[in-house]
């Protein structure tokens, strides 16, 4: 039997700025087991819910993640609205959908860049982030914030987008689509990238299902789950196809996210075409009394917010289950049996967001 050694990966590692610690048990160059540990950046968001009014907690919920911030805020608002039986105006629902999809574009482009960086393709990383800047510009023009949008509130949205701006966004999407097409061609067709990603970190469909993989990680293994199909916000009124691949390796996960960029752009176009006129918010009176589990599809997978109120303006309990947390067990499965040099690529392939995970 070969001698086993343990190599620590993280919490500070060049490939991942966020602190996750993995103890890699190696036999020669092969990873045989992985022991993960998290808990470096716990911020106690869930406790803060007892000290802030339920309307103010939106801002805190939004700061759970620096990338899919809007979707966190929206999911929290949906939960409170369900408890209080608030009917959100249709236009607000469409605006929420548009901003969610822009968040997804932003997140996936960011991930494509980081993924390129993980196998040492600096130039592609820069190019992905150059396109992402266009998405952030639209975010800033419509909400006032690049990363923390702050445009969602209980009972609707805080800002409207004018008709001219929507047309302008529609036109900007055409330019962006061409650029993204060029970019994803490199990711999916380039020989050097295929060598680094094909058949690396394979996760079978059964494992993905039993270990609770969510989002693109699950869809790349052939599991058909996409929360957007449940029709929250305005997704029920739009056509969307979940992108499913069957490979289960890093290449498939990259392919799922690359295709989802086009799905997102398609959803934004549909939403811009179908958005009705009308008010963007309703007046919120009273306080939430009850509990609700609300789910939404984040760029990384299924997000769950549990909210419990007792009739006062302070909520009793908030629980946030983020997609990265459930994607860690599948990650361990993927890493077992891989080469040490492939570890950064595989870790990056689940799109880990540790600050989300620890809240």
């Amino acid at each position: 039997m070969t001698k086993q050694i343990i190599i620590p990966f993280g919490p500070q590692h060049p490939v991942l700025p966020e602190p996750i610690h993995l103890d890699l048990v190696l036999e020669d160059e092969r990873v045989v087991d992985v022991i993960p540990s998290i808990g470096y950046i716990h911020r106690g968001f869930e406790k803060l819910v007892e000290k802030r009014e339920f309307t103010d907690y939106v801002y805190i919920a939004e700061r759970t993640c620096g990338i899919c911030s809007f979707i966190h805020g929206m999911t929290y608002c949906q939960g409170v609205e369900k408890i209080m039986n608030i009917e959100v105006p249709e236009r607000a629902d469409f605006l929420r959908t548009i901003w969610s999809e822009y968040s997804r574009l932003h997140s996936h482009l960011l991930w494509l860049g980081l993924f390129a960086d993980s196998f040492g393709f600096e130039n592609l990383f820069m190019n992905a982030w150059r396109i992402r800047e266009r998405v952030l510009d639209v975010m800033e023009q419509t909400t006032g914030g690049r990363v923390i949008q702050g445009s969602c509130k209980v009972g609707g949205v805080r800002r409207d987008i004018s008709g001219e701006k929507l047309d302008e966004m529609n036109k900007a999407l055409d330019i962006m689509e061409k650029e993204i097409e060029e970019l994803t061609t490199v990711f999916l067709k380039d020989d050097t990238i295929r060598h680094r990603t094909k058949d690396v970190g394979v996760l079978s469909k059964e494992d993905a299902y039993h270990l609770g993989a969510v989002g693109p990680t699950a869809r790349a293994s052939g599991v058909d789950i996409d929360l957007r199909k449940t029709g929250y916000a305005a997704y029920g009124k739009l056509n969307l196809e979940a992108v499913i691949e069957s490979g289960g390796d890093c290449y498939s996960r990259c392919a799922v996210r690359s295709s989802e960029l086009f799905t997102s752009m398609d959803i934004i176009r549909q939403a811009i075409r179908k958005i009705p006129e009308g008010p963007i918010d309703v007046k919120v009176t009273g306080t939430p009394n009850g509990e609700y589990f609300t789910r939404a599809e984040q760029p990384r997978g299924e997000l769950v917010h549990y909210i419990k109120g007792n009739g006062t303006k302070f909520l009793v309990r908030s629980r946030i289950r983020t997609p990265t947390l459930t994607n860690i067990p599948p990650l361990i499965k993927m890493l077992q049996g891989c080469e040490l040099a492939d570890v950064p690529v595989i870790v990056l392939s689940i799109d880990p967001c540790i600050s989300c995970t620890e809240r």
Partner: protein, 127 residues
Amino acid sequence: MAFFEMVKMALRTVTNRPATIRYPSEPAKKTIISRGHVTIDASKCISCGTCVRKCPSQALVVNKEAKTWQIDRLRCVVCNSCVDTCPVKCLFMDTQYSAPVTARGVETITITYVKPQKPEKKDEAAV
């Protein structure tokens, strides 16, 4: 299998202008609704304290007696709530970020608003 997929993209970046700007010598891109930092028109503030109650990060303090409006710039999350709810619209959102600081502190602004005198009712009654 494909080779030289990136050539077109690479050549374009060679011939085009850089995608980045030379900040701070060139100003950063801002839109009219960009959230930078909160400013106050001290001559209009009526010291009602609505902004204090609506602030999710408890960054604001209004002292009615001392006539001061205080903001802790490092606590402020620039959410625009105070600007949205101010009844006399004396708060504004500046598009530029607040200047970097080396120490924590509160910025204190003296409110210069003077309550206009009410017309005396006795005279009206006499007439």
